[in-house]
């Protein structure tokens, strides 16, 4: 049980897909100008990466190693298409907001990376937790970026106006340039957090 928890936890902090592994930064910039779209994107990716890890883990022994990458991509594409069809039918507004980035989940580096480096070598349960952890980490990172950008760039969070009319929102936070700057600061801050945690861990093991 302990090891499952650590599989899950590593994706959130120590190996956060965006802040530490720095994978899939392009969509992290493109869809995070508001908190709502960030959360939808995060949840979609979380679902896809968890499902795909399970599928890959289940079929890892029957897939011919020569075509394993095409097979993994087909699996990801299938899951993404299902998500896309479901969103289009039941949440058309979000589907429009995510636009092309939803389809691009298929080629997100993080998803194929987890399939290849983890799920193809582990059984179902650890793969599930690895995918879930990475997905939660991705989602948390996206929501942090989205909330900050929406707060500074538009004075609201999840569409709820927090700052009054006196707040003259700096446009740059909504534009990609501001997103880059913010992600830079967040990566720095995350690094400090991880180092702090490692130091505490080391102290504890010495004691």
């Amino acid at each position: 049980m302990n090891s499952l928890w650590s599989e899950f936890k590593k994706g959130i902090i120590a190996e956060n897909p965006i802040f530490v592994l720095a994978l899939s930064l392009c969509p992290a910039l493109a869809v995070t100008s508001s908190a709502t779209t960030s959360l939808t994107m995060g949840l979609s990716v979380m679902f896809v990466i968890t499902m795909n890890n399970c599928v890959v883990s289940l079929i890892r022994n029957v897939v011919n190693p020569k075509v394993r990458v095409p097979v993994y991509i087909t699996s990801i594409a299938t899951i993404v298409t299902v998500v896309q069809l479901a969103l289009q039918a039941y949440a058309p507004a979000l589907y429009d907001a995510l636009g092309i980035y939803l389809a691009l989940i298929v080629v997100f580096a993080i998803i194929l990376a987890r399939a290849e480096s983890f799920a193809s070598k582990h059984t179902l349960i650890p793969s599930f937790f690895d995918g879930l952890g990475m997905g939660v980490g991705f989602c948390v990172a996206l929501v942090i970026i989205g909330v900050l950008r929406e707060l500074f760039g538009a004075g609201s969070i999840f569409g709820v106006k927090l700052l009054g009319d006196w707040y003259n929102a700096p446009l740059i936070m909504i534009l990609p340039a501001g997103g880059f700057m913010l992600i830079g600061y967040l990566i720095g801050g995350w690094k400090m957090l991880v180092q702090h945690m490692e130091k505490k861990e080391a102290e504890r093991s010495e004691a």
């Binding site: 011919n64 087909t74 069809l85 070598k121």
Partner: protein
């Protein structure tokens, strides 16, 4: 990269079969989901279009498609046509801008709604909001021209920092209005 990457010869046939089966299963899953979700998506899209038109022409109680013109609707109230709702398309700063324009039979703009646009947030995307919107509303084709002269109260004032978006949206609305005027003239 241990056990499963042991060098072993596979015939091209085995590899092909493996991929074929994968794609076949994937196809079945997608077809199944599409079968369930597509009718819902179509229904929602139609409902959304009706809702948008209702916002544009609140007095109307019925929208009937106009024959011979694609996606044109006549807004009716008690059986009489009070306005026309027509799609407009134009090219803005960030690519295509698609909109719905509601036009009176006399050729003045009632309202418009931007449906698809990729204009710069905070600058160009204000073209669908106040105060720019109220400049367009009520104007006829002659005055749907963008000006940068602040003393010109007759025409449409360009938005600061978004002249291209202002011009594009105005042009799109103007084309829709011209289309309606021509259509109404043709009927009479």
């Amino acid at each position: 990269m241990s056990t499963e990457h042991t060098p072993k010869e596979y015939s091209i046939f085995q590899i092909a079969i493996n991929l074929t089966i994968t794609c076949f299963i994937s196809g079945i899953i997608i077809a199944g989901v599409y079968f369930i979700s597509h009718p819902v998506a179509v229904k929602n899209a139609a409902a959304k279009e009706m809702e948008t038109m209702q916002v544009l022409v609140p007095e109307a109680d019925k929208f009937t498609p106009i024959e011979g013109e694609e996606d044109w609707y006549a807004a009716e109230k008690g059986g009489e046509t009070i306005a026309y709702v027509v799609p407009g398309e134009t090219k803005g700063y960030g690519g295509k801008i698609g909109m719905l324009v509601a036009v009176n039979a006399d050729g003045s703009v009632i309202d418009y709604q931007i449906l698809v646009a990729n204009e710069t947030p905070g600058l160009g995307d204000k073209a669908g909001k106040e105060p720019f919107k109220s400049q367009i509303i009520g104007k006829t084709s002659d005055h749907l021209v963008v000006t940068k002269d602040a003393s010109n109260k007759e025409d449409v004032q360009a938005m600061t920092g978004a002249t291209i978006s202002s011009k594009a949206v105005t042009k799109g609305v103007k084309e829709a209005v011209d289309g309606v005027v021509e259509y109404v003239g043709g009927v009479k």
